[in-house]
């Protein structure tokens, strides 16, 4: 409860009309951003604690989950620096949803195994100059985005196992074709 309170209080502060409309001074904007970021970090700790309880005993290797807050600008330390990782997707909506995910990666082909133990069709999309990372955000090194669709049950989560593949791409692992328009 104390950890959730950090974000709750930050949200309360940012509901000042300056925060809602963006008419605060720059220094205040930085303060709002810091409060929200601190609150978000505290809530992520709550979710990690919940996961630790859900994971069965004996999973000593479980180090907690990482939240890639910069996925929208093609930056994620876990996906771009590891050849193998697990993705858990949580669905807060009360019915089953599907969603396209784009993970920043450095490999050319990946195997993605879905929650039903079957391979998921993927497509590798190159990061071009137009989709480049935001330069002022350090640490974005992805050359590709791994695109695939996930399906998650109502108020539940699905787990996907993702591994860089050294073998020839299969029919599930599709590359993109690029053409310049002149």
């Amino acid at each position: 409860t104390l950890n959730i309170q950090v974000l709750r209080e930050a949200m309360g502060v940012v509901q000042h009309h300056d925060g809602v409309s963006g008419t605060e001074k720059q220094e205040v904007a930085y303060d709002y951003a810091m409060r929200l970021a601190n609150g978000r970090t505290a809530c992520q700790k709550v979710m990690n604690d919940a996961f630790a309880k859900l994971i069965q005993k004996g999973s000593e290797g479980f180090m907690g989950v990482a939240f890639c807050d910069l996925l929208n600008i093609s930056a994620c330390e876990v996906t771009q620096n590891n050849k193998q990782f697990v993705m858990v997707v949580y669905n807060p909506v009360g019915h089953t949803v599907s969603r396209w995910l784009r993970l920043p990666v450095i490999g050319e082909a990946y195997t993605v195994m879905g929650p039903d133990n079957s391979p998921v069709q993927t497509q590798i999309v190159p990061v071009t100059k137009r989709t480049m990372q935001i330069p002022e955000r350090n640490g974005a090194i992805a050359t590709n985005e791994l695109v695939f669709k996930v399906s998650i049950p109502a108020l539940g989560f699905s787990t996907y196992f993702i591994k860089m593949s050294n073998s020839k791409p299969t029919k599930e692992m599709q590359q993109s074709r690029m053409e310049k328009i002149q």
Partner: protein
Amino acid sequence: GKDFIMKNEHMALTLDGNTGKWKSLKDLHSGIEINVTNDMAVYYGMPGNCSRGDFQPSGAYIFRPNGTAPSGPSSAMLIKGPLVTEVHTSFSSWATLVTRMYTGEPYTEVEWTVGPIPIDDNLGKEVVVRFMTDLKTNSMFYTDANGREIITRKRDYRETWTFNQTEPVAGNYAPVNSRIYIKDDNKGLQFTVLNDRSQGGSSIQDGEVELMVHRRTLYDDCLGVGEPMNETGSDHNGLIIRGKMFVHSGTTDTAAQFHRDFALRQYMAPLPMFAVTDMKYSDYS
């Protein structure tokens, strides 16, 4: 150089083979096609010095444009694949758009990246993404109030008082928290744009929809902030911002079903979390 089509089960978007700009969008369920083009444009912020009694400048509270400069894309790239097809267009070194169509999805995704907005010409700039359709909209457009009630907007008109329009652009801007749409009742068509953050938006001409995505102004508007909107970022060049819009074209009697349902999924989006493991898949599963 030939026009080409991005298509899935729901819609077909024809793009100009020379520029990568949109040309037409067809709803494959109703078979109705509309002409639609897109671009990015810049409003130049009005300079001024209100503390001296000069003109009111554009600032944090005030959007007061002093003319526009639309720009055509200078280059484009098509990326094709079985799951997603994309067209990447550059409007300048600091403004790009990606148009995406995913398999099986009844919308077109537009991802914009804008910044750092250059100010070495001493002009503040306010950047919009625009969609121009051939819908006859009778000065009407519709915006939401925090995703709940949809509010009817009419250009140069206010419902409860006699309105004297002095700002043809800013005077017609409205908050767009999650969606804006226009309708052509004769054709029975609706063109809807959902955004991923609160923005200002309008329909400055019939059939047009625009959303302001980024601003950088050089003057305070003397309404209490005391400084211009000029966040420079950690490298002191100005911010780079990226966001998305979701465009849907369909009949007026089915459009609400799409945007209500899609908005719920979009704004309560699933949350991905990641963990590194060195286990084999068979052991892990």
